[in-house]
Point group: C2
Chain length 314, copies 2
């Protein structure tokens, strides 16, 4: 079942920007300017342990508390794998940043694991395992980070049960991700949302989501800008990040086509037509956060980012 000549595999999984303003829980894109590395090493004792997590903050090594080990445990169980694995994780994505950190760890682990298999699993099968990781991390099987992380580019999740992915045309744009040093737990950011939506808002949001998709196919930036207005989720989460509307305004005033939360925040994203514009936007967003005494870190990457991949195998 496992390739005999392989002992260690390292995979990279990119950060992801979920929701993309109007696509709550259904849209996301990969962002390979940041990401997690996971190394799996075969063990003969059948145990799955976390050796090491390289990260700015101290994270527990308990394999039941990390998405990387949770998905490997489940896979080994389902495929009746007798080997165990030692897992080392190098986190490039801060936890609770809204950049798909829990998804990236799970997807990097799955991508490494898949390289061991004589008959690798499909992306769809891997998605279903990664969903279990998200469930362990935030209590809900939301797929909008794991799917772009596994598929790359920009993706639409048409259904989660069973998972069905539509790969969309990637716009020729540059993305800024700016992470303010605040922590917003996904669980909490989901908790603030009303469980019902006025029908009128639901229609407006559907119209914008539909025209956003049309804009991608038309490569029509003006339509993209017009469509990327979230009437439902953003207003309910704005208070979680001090200065949110000012920072968003700074982005739009500097020429961003779109700006909103990346996932459930506190990271914000912004889309720009050129790299130079993206840099100006990032700096203006950073300065606006600073005016609120919030320090930040930012990354810039083209939107046509890769999916997770194997970095090293021996």
């Amino acid at each position: 079942m496992l390739k005999e000549n392989l002992n260690s595999v390292t995979a990279f999984a990119p950060a992801t920007c979920a929701n993309v303003s109007i696509g709550f829980d259904i849209l996301g894109f990969s962002f390979d300017g940041a990401g997690d590395f996971v190394t799996l090493k075969k063990r003969v004792d059948g145990k799955i342990i976390i050796d090491n997590i390289e990260c700015e903050e101290k994270l527990p090594l308990d394999p039941n508390k990390n998405t990387a080990s949770v998905v490997i445990q489940k896979l080994c169980e389902d495929l009746n794998i007798q080997n165990g694995f030692s897992i080392s994780i190098k986190k490039g994505i801060a936890l609770g940043s809204g950049m798909g950190g829990s998804a990236a760890s799970a997807v990097a682990a799955l991508t490494a694991f898949n390289a061991f298999l004589k008959k690798p699993l499909s992306l769809q099968e891997l998605s279903n395992y990664a969903l279990l990781g998200e469930e362990a991390a935030c209590g809900q099987k939301h797929a909008d980070n794991i799917v772009p992380c596994l598929y790359g580019g920009i993706t639409l999740i048409q259904s989660t049960d069973p998972i069905h992915v539509v790969e969309l045309p990637v716009p020729n744009l540059h993305c800024v991700l700016i992470h303010p040093y605040l922590k917003v737990e996904t669980k909490h950011a989901r908790g603030v949302l009303c469980t019902s939506v006025p029908l009128k808002e639901c229609i407006k949001q559907s119209a914008n989501t539909a025209s956003f998709i049309a804009a991608l196919y038309q490569a029509n930036n003006a339509l993209l800008k017009k469509s990327a207005q979230d009437f439902i989720i953003e207003p309910q989460r704005a208070h979680l990040v001090p200065g949110f509307y000012e920072v968003k305004k700074a982005a739009l005033d500097s020429g961003a086509l779109v700006s909103s939360f990346s996932g459930s925040g506190p990271t914000l994203f912004a889309l720009a037509e050129t790299k130079e514009m993206a840099l100006t936007i990032a700096e203006n967003m950073q300065n606006t956060f600073l005016a609120h005494e919030i320090k930040t870190e930012f990354w810039i990457s083209k939107m046509n980012s890769k999916n997770a991949f194997v970095v090293e195998a021996h």
Copy 2:
């Protein structure tokens, strides 16, 4: 302002199928297998009167109660037109059928009127006037019939205020419209709808709407079929038409890709890959209605239907 040498113009406006299952209030397509004709004749006395309405049922000639005359009154007022008009209407679309009858009368009148103008109005300007007609007819400015009626093909309304239309790729499909002899007033069909939607349903519906748009651009019928599932509106309106789910099942069992209400019903639509399939679907839907002792009439037309046009001018 009006062309001097023109005295009478007749225009045709097609039936339209609004909502298209998952696009409540935002999607619609034209269906030129049925439609309304409106003739405008110049008058010198400045009056706007309805001369005649050719229709299966008796309709009032009061110009304040017909969408055709309402929009012409408003236009004459706004453009300060001194002439009046005699209006004759030949209705090919039953009122309260869900085939866009009120929209077709308004749009045919506007199209005829526009032919009189030395500087014709844009489709967007005409849309705004047609909206006033819909408001007069059902109390709400819903644009999902008037827009495809004016633009042809399949359209998305990204916003209504101001109106912004996205013209979508028309699938190479055949459409059945089947009208059971029941009357469902749009006002009533809107009245049965809950004013709020569970967030979860809103997300599922958005995902389907988004993938429906992707399916149109990809010309992907399998994705179209998978996406065209309305979790919000259809279940709330099904009881308005006896046997609705059986008739829909008859359509799907006969090979229809999609079937649901046309607009607010009671007319149902179904989409098929060939004309022969469309005919079989229509007959099976008709027989299922008959088992409920409901008589029907049906039309079949390709989905690439024309927008409203001038038939005669002299």
